[in-house]
Symmetry: D2
Subunit: 317 residues, 4 copies
């Protein structure tokens, strides 16, 4: 069954009456203090920069970002439109007859294609409040014109060690089927087999093979995905990583293991622990070349008050 | 006098009758062959990656990208709008009551704020054709839905040596006035004083101090800028750099030295020589710290068929 | 002092702690029942259509809608962008070489230029709820993708008697200054002088002369406007009209008579009584020709779940 | 086979080499002089207004405009997005705690949903020029920021006699299949059966039943449609009507009778004769009530330089 905006909105209204009891748990203040807006990005240090760049031996760059284009898979309710106004957009000007082209884009710009989820993207309704990382409340920081806290402009730059965990290869498959839940043991087993460990401040990229479907079978791509479940997510969080990433649109397994929970991994990592998330990557070349450890670089575009960012993350070895 | 869309359009129509004679010059095929769409990006090699990263000794990152926000300076006719739909945008979903926020952006996305100019941005009208880098013709590659050649998705990644030329400091000023033309001799003198040279595949960032006006005096910021003239541009091109960059909106001097020429440096570097351009940077910290040589990193967002890209370029030392 | 988005947002946060006591008043259910979403549009009847069209004796049409264009006055935080993608947008197709042009518009489409305010546009915060016409609550009907109640698609068509009240002429002025409050007595006096009365189901258009500033002195135009105060609004509501309209951006007087109240007339008429509002009209020709009674026609564009509509309302005599 | 943007663009490039010989024909100057930008709208006179309103006997309004909503059928390459920023968009302001909602729309606004085609929408490539109504050339009037001639703001208001031709009923069907070409004889036969004639300045609305598919079977709706062919279009033009309209997305038959011709009726009526076109109407109630003659009213939204307009046209009897 395909998710539609209408279904999501219906679900939204249906559930709004049955809010969680507020006694559930309290995930704030954060380990970086009650005012922190950067979460795990605080684990990014000059030492991590040095450690990461020390992995660059060949000068080889892998582009992990997808091309943004009409017809790419989109979450229900989102759109992406790029047009070139005029032809050319302006000119000719001057005796030298200069002309120029621009592009007009309308889109949920931080939440389409290769997308980086910031800490203002996912929260939890507790009683009548929507609460985000570090206890920040939607009613206090969200405005129509952008978020006044947790905006993407606060994140900074990821220049740190990246580790690819090739779970597809570990399971002897080229593509894990939609709905395959990846456990902590799977991650650990794959890491052992690859001879790599993960540590504080790392970005963990999970290769599932699902990315092969991108622009090839968008319906199957969008139907769900293999991915980590809550238990694996918690294990990753304990390793103090800064970001999860994958060649899927959710990183976490969809449909979820417990059908009564909606995006529980997003909620746990982004919404409570301040660990970032990066979706819709192309990890095929890294996996094919068995590159498991590398310098990872990504600088979110500083759209003030935005929830996410597009971009072209890279791995360099 | 302030440029307005109307003025530009009027100028456009006024000049359309007086096209250049086609005998003027022919800047194609490119030195990388008649099919090349990447221009100076071909100078980006694994060796340059290694050379750049060898400059990273402290692990210190300088973010050079501006925050994109309502009210920032914009070229006439462009707009930037960011809104958060709903509050939250979606949810709560599931028993775990997940909510999410998105952002809708409408903008000339590759040509507002910190902006990277691709090779499909600037061309020259010759007779009735608009001709770009490597002789590609607007009539053959430009569609309403994006450029079919020279699109930003072809550029790749800049991970190379960056050199800051602090012309303001060289001239003993904190900010060069609008309209100050920077000569090749200025660049050479500043480099000598800084004890740095530039070479093939480098990104050259020019500090003028004009960036101090950003969001402080937008009217003066937009009125023009200090910058390189044609002669300096040609000298830089001879050094085989890959990109010019500055803390101004045009990199080149505005108003231009010859008032009959419109954006002649854009036309020369981007439009003919395939050398990229990066505008509206914040170079103040680099200049204050006298960081003249560093690893420069920027990965354009791969909007298919776009003329430019937003982003947050970084310098690392 | 010029209103800015930042100021408005600041005001919003400042006031959010001091919500009205809920005992204030209760304006629902509406006189058309607890489920009604159309408000005063229920006063539009076939009889009113007949009465209105009987006023058409000359077949003369007055266009009251402004041209929507870049540079027109906009409320803080709103934008309007129109571009033509490509040139042409598509084609040539077929042996007959057909080409076509489209336009891409991004805007707060129902709330820029000549704008019709629907009943989902203005509400009142009572305790923690935002309550609209007929007691409908924001938390129950507003989604990120549109309003599920009170959307503009429910309104229907205004084809009814229109009455122009030329308050400027009544006061012997060509333009009432910004901040001029128009009283019920002013309206009654002008009507007497004009020899016209107003009645149930009428649209009342108020000529202030402020519209002369449109695209001539946008700063003064946007600074505020002459307009009706609360007392005049209540008198109009008692006459059971369906809509107020004017050659200003708010119809009501700005700055407001009581500086502690924000848009009290909007709140009273739209938000409580279900009486519509139409802003930024060009009433100059009607006033010049002393046309005080006419058939008024306006059919809002049915953008599902929208708060307002653009359009070109007309008067016909 | 479904039309895609890619196919259209490919077609565009394929055909661009085989332009019409310029000797073909010359359709200008128009019968209203070489400067005219309004075409058949010149046939709209006070007398037509009087004649139209004299048909209003019951005061009954039929809304012919569709609701604009996500998921409605769209021509390849177009999009429609409506979001409500924030919840509410602004406020509470003042002691009276006013809140407001806006909507942000991004769309090919004049060319989605119920859409009115202006004279800048369709042209013909002759040699290297794209030529529109009255010989106006794309190269001379089209800019990235809007058309400088033939923009929708010039059209004025349609308040004239409307005639419904129920071709489906005439053929004894509830819905004419996709691809059914309607001939002049069909139109004449249906008119005879209905006992109505058409004349100068009328709007002709053709009921095909295809509209039943709207939001019910969008794929079949978009695949094509029944509609008039070139011969019927020419007969209608000879009757000096001002506009064709239908419950289909093209009014003309799709696929076209001659597969080598692309939108020949658009080209003939809009592009050469200055006769307007209105698409995606809901004519079901008019047809059910056998209302064949009525006052037709439509006032295009004056988006400066636009090619078309959204709206909610009405029939009144």
């Amino acid at each position: 069954m395909k998710l539609t905006t209408t279904m999501l909105l219906a679900a939204s209204l249906a559930f709004s009456a049955s809010a969680l009891s507020s006694s559930d748990d309290v995930w704030w203040p954060s380990e970086w203090g009650p005012d922190d807006e950067r979460g795990a990005a605080n684990r990014l240090t000059p030492e991590k920069v040095i450690a990461a760049t020390s992995l660059i031996q060949r000068g080889q760059i892998y582009q992990l970002g997808r091309v943004y284009e009409a017809g790419m898979p989109l979450f229900p309710g989102r759109h992406y439109s790029l047009t070139i106004p005029g032809s050319p957009t302006g000119g000719p000007f001057g005796n030298n007859q200069t002309v120029y082209n621009d592009e007009v884009v309308s889109a949920q710009i931080g939440q389409v294609g290769t997308q980086f989820d910031g800490l203002g993207h996912i929260g939890t309704r507790v009683d009548k409040e929507d609460i985000f990382y570090n206890g920040f409340k939607q009613s206090e920081f969200a405005t129509a014109a952008g978020l006044q806290k947790l905006g993407i402009e606060n994140v900074g730059v990821f220049l740190t060690r990246g580790v690819l965990i090739d779970v597809a290869a570990y399971k002897g498959m080229t593509r894990l089927p939609v709905g395959t839940a990846i456990s902590a043991e799977d991650l650990q087993g794959a890491l052992r087999q690859q001879g790599v460990t993960i540590g504080e401040g790392d970005v963990v990229l999970i290769h599932t093979g699902h990315g092969q479907l991108w622009m090839v079978d968008n319906e199957e791509y969008s139907r769900g995905g293999p991915g980590i479940g809550l238990e694996a997510a918690r294990w990753l969080a304990e390793q103090k990583i800064v970001m999860t990433a994958a060649d899927t649109w959710a990183v976490e397994v969809i449909p979820t293991e417990n059908e009564n929970l909606a995006f529980p991994v997003h909620q746990e990592l982004l919404g409570k622990r301040g660990i970032y998330n990066l979706e819709n990557l192309d990890l095929s070349s890294l996996a094919a070349d068995k590159v498991y450890e590398f310098a990872f670089m990504f600088a979110p575009v500083k759209f003030k008050g935005a929830t996410g960012s597009p971009g072209n993350p890279i791995a360099v070895r």
